[in-house]
Amino acid sequence: MIKNYIKIAWRNILRYKTNSVLNILGLSIGLVSVMLIALYIQNELAYDTQFDQAAQVYRVNMKGKMGDNAFYAGYTPPPAGQALVDQFPEIESATRIYQSDNTKLAYTNATRSKVFNESEILAVDPNFLEVLSYPLQKGDAATCLQEPNSIVITPQIAKKYFGDADPMGKTLAYGDSGKPLQVTGVFEDLSNYPASLKFDILMPVANFNEVTYFNWSWVWLNMATYVKLTPQASANPATLANLESRFPEMLKVQAAPAFERIGQPFEEFIEKGNYWELHLQALSDIHLYSDGITSSITEQHDVKSLYILGIIAFFIIILACVNFMNLSTVQAVKRSKEIGIRKVLGSQRKQLVKQFMTEVFCYTFCATLLAFITVLLILPMFNGLTGKELDIQAFFNRNLILLILAVVVLTTLLAGIYPAFFLTSFNPIRALKGKVGKTTQSSFIRNGLVVFQFSIAITLIICTLVVFSQLRYAQQKDLGFEKDHVLVINNAETLGNSLASFKKELTALTGVEAASSSSGMLTRGNFGDFYTPKPTADEPNIATDISLSSYLIDDAFIPTLDLEIVEGRGFDKQFKDSLSVILNETAAAQIGWENPIGQQIRYPGGNMEYYTVVGILKDFNLESLHTPIEPFALFAEESKSYDTRTTFISLKISGEHTRQVIGQVQDLWESYLESTPFEYSFLDEDLAYAYQEDQRLASLFMGFSILAIFVACLGLFGLIAFTAQQRTKEIGVRKVLGASVGSIVKLLAINFLKLVMLALILAVPVAWLAMDSWLQDFAYRIDIPIWAFIAAGVLALAIALITVSVQAIKAAIANPVKALRTE
């Protein structure tokens, strides 16, 4: 019996070619979407699950509030880890991670020298690999980071410096001082290793003086700490909660001296409504559930985007099933004779349902094969879009295979059940006469399905348009500074004492309009600390403390970036500015000064010196528009108010002959620093990078929206073909009576266009709600643009009209005699 079913299914697929192509294409597009999205989600969920004892590992996060500034970060003070191990038996071990700004790495042998800037260097405690068991190809995880002069690298780094030679025992020179480090371990290839903490190179943190220097501090938040709990503690949520509840007591004791030292006695600090808390976050939650937790060393995605993609995949497969249902029921008329005969010959309904389900399965089987091949072909493109490195291996995962099987079975059921029951419900006599599928009930369902499909497609179009206009807005918004034609050179700290002469020579180059240096740069981080404004007789009611992010800058910085001073002045050689500060509007407003110029702030973290406010800077955004503007300050380079180890040079260039200008700058750089690679970027590109994740999401969104619309159009195409066929006689009669082609196209198209209009009406509120909630994530956002709705409507109508017209015209220009004869 099954053989008979498959045989007739196969012949039907071949016989009704258009219908089969539409069905299989629609289903396979749905399955391609599901497969791609499933691969993506599976990869995202796999993050940090592959380590030994991953379930026992937690990141220590710090939640704090100082004055008006609240934060939640994946960073902790340097002594926190050891203190936790000492105080709490549940915590077995702790390991710390520090990202240095110094990135230069060199290898020299008898014949040649290789120097690169390595951006993925992490400095870690010696026990790092015992907590996070990244797999080693060579070397011993327990000992390879024990000696301060050791370094552990990925095979890619080994290849880059040593070629095919054995890297073990070779020496690399690190940083400006060229400190020799010996390779003590080589990792397995980590490029596909799903871990939130990514690096190319590990070295012991003991090499970094600043860490040692700040070992006393409970406010220097530049290290990440991971702890490993005992199996008992990590297995039990109650123990875990109990553990966390004992942290505040520990902090009160341990952090007190450090707070005392910065002029903020801890008890007093807390009484003022501030807080300083440690929290544990499960390793497996870091990648996807760190919304609001800052960390620049871990790859943190928002789990929401997985939900969105999952929903899109779900909708596309539903669209494809709806398509299938619709196209199959319209096939009913063509198939009704067969059904009638089978019934007359004694087939029971059960058998017919089985037969149709077999047929649907044949379709889904073909569609699945096609989808699988398509996915393999487009995987490289998809990787480009998502920044992942998925390959065919990713398919061979039990859960994924089960999921895809489940989707195929569900699709078969979903797509098949309605047509199977609909088709087999015919009265055999009516079926033999072809009098089926014309009832008002079935056309109501069909129309409903079309409306449903188009509602989803239109919603997706609207969302795509809104997402793109928000991104455009973010990238084009007047940021409060010049971002075009600004070249940023990294590693300028290597210039040391020749910085001034280098800058002088730069300004002399043709095409360079201005050159400046600064300790921080937009999107590249900054130095943050705590300051206390000084109350005066005129303005006694001001904030007692403020947390400020700041750069140390030279005189040329403000003009180079075209920053706007709204009150007072910028730094200038003619004044002694080593004890001056420029605040942004937000900082001045937060302190509460009415007349900020001439007021003072004290820096307890430094030498308790007072800085006088000389200028107020118009607010601008340091990072992306995701984050609101924070209090920000500029100090003069010569203030040496703190010690950062980075210096950036920013150049304003004319915008003509960019290539030559860069060439000249590079020549100059190399004449100063032979061994430090010349690295630069354009500020506008750096800013765009801040929106990369949004851009990716938007591109994915757009890609899948296009697929959804395509599937919906396939359905519409099939339906109008059916309508035209059903009305063949009517069309013939009308033509004999003198109807024009245009009037017949209108007759056929108008109903479908009405359905699309209805879909538009349904889609608008859904899209509005969805986008309104998405936009909440941006500190600066557009109002949802009305034109997006109009454009989506026009687009959907146009696509529908084209689809419908193709079929309608075909029906309308057919010979009416032939049309009449078919009845």
Partner: protein, 234 residues
């Protein structure tokens, strides 16, 4: 074999109720060949559908092989139908996607005959209908006469007790039509009961008895002379 008494059937639309069968009664004995005649809309096809257990009457009694079948549900009717009744239609009603062999095989599949047995029986009947050489062809590749021979083959492959033929020669030219009528006659002579709806006086002459209908009622019934001795008064 068949006894219908006061059979009634209505077709109702929103506005009108049409009476298709109006208290129709007659009997058919096993081995008879009965022709039903009458103008379009007189209820012939409705009658055939009810006799073929494709449709349920709205009133009256229908006894088939001694069992009252009026009111049977779809499953019971399908079961009775597939074992006892073969159909021949004016428009042949072969399944276009199946070959000649497969079309004829279909009733055997639905009655659960084993594949080897199916092959044997289909081959036999195709041989008998002289259509064996076209067994692998699809219906569209055959002439009308050949298609109707396939349809007859399909109707008899299960050895039904009753064959219902609805205008079996309606779509055929006269020589093909005569061939089909000869086939039906042979089957009848071999013992199969046949009820045939027809417009054609010529075809009706092949039968033993002609029932003429008008407006859902029987108007006359003539037993063709040479068979008078065999038939009973209704």
């Amino acid at each position: 074999m068949i006894k219908i008494t006061d059979l009634e059937k209505y077709y109702a639309t929103e506005e009108v109720r049409t009476i298709a069968l109006n208290k129709l009664s007659f009997q058919v004995q096993e081995g008879e060949f009965v022709a039903v005649m009458g103008p379009s809309g007189c209820g012939k096809s409705t009658l055939l559908n009810i006799l073929g257990l494709l449709d349920d009457p709205d009133g009256g009694s229908f006894i088939f092989n001694g069992i009252e079948v009026a009111g049977f549900n779809e499953r019971k009717r399908a079961d009775l139908r597939k074992h006892n009744i073969g159909f021949v239609f004016q428009s042949f009603n072969l399944i276009d996607e199946l070959t000649v062999f497969e079309n004829v095989e279909l009733p055997l599949i639905y009655t659960g005959v084993k594949p080897a047995e199916r092959k044997k029986r289909v081959d036999e009947v195709l041989e008998k209908m002289q259509i064996m050489h076209r067994r692998k062809h699809f219906p569209q590749q055959l002439s009308g006469g050949q298609q109707q021979r396939v349809a007859v083959a399909r109707a008899v492959v299960n050895n039904p007790k009753l064959i219902l033929a609805d205008e079996p020669t309606g779509n055929l030219d006269s020589s093909n039509g005569n061939e089909v009528m000869d086939l039906l006659t042979e089957l009848n002579e071999a013992g199969t009961t046949i009820i045939m709806v027809t417009h054609s006086e010529h075809d009706a002459k092949y039968s033993h008895r002609i029932i003429r209908m008008l407006d859902g009622q029987k108007v006359t019934e003539n037993v063709l002379s040479e068979y008078k001795s065999k038939t009973l008064e209704v």
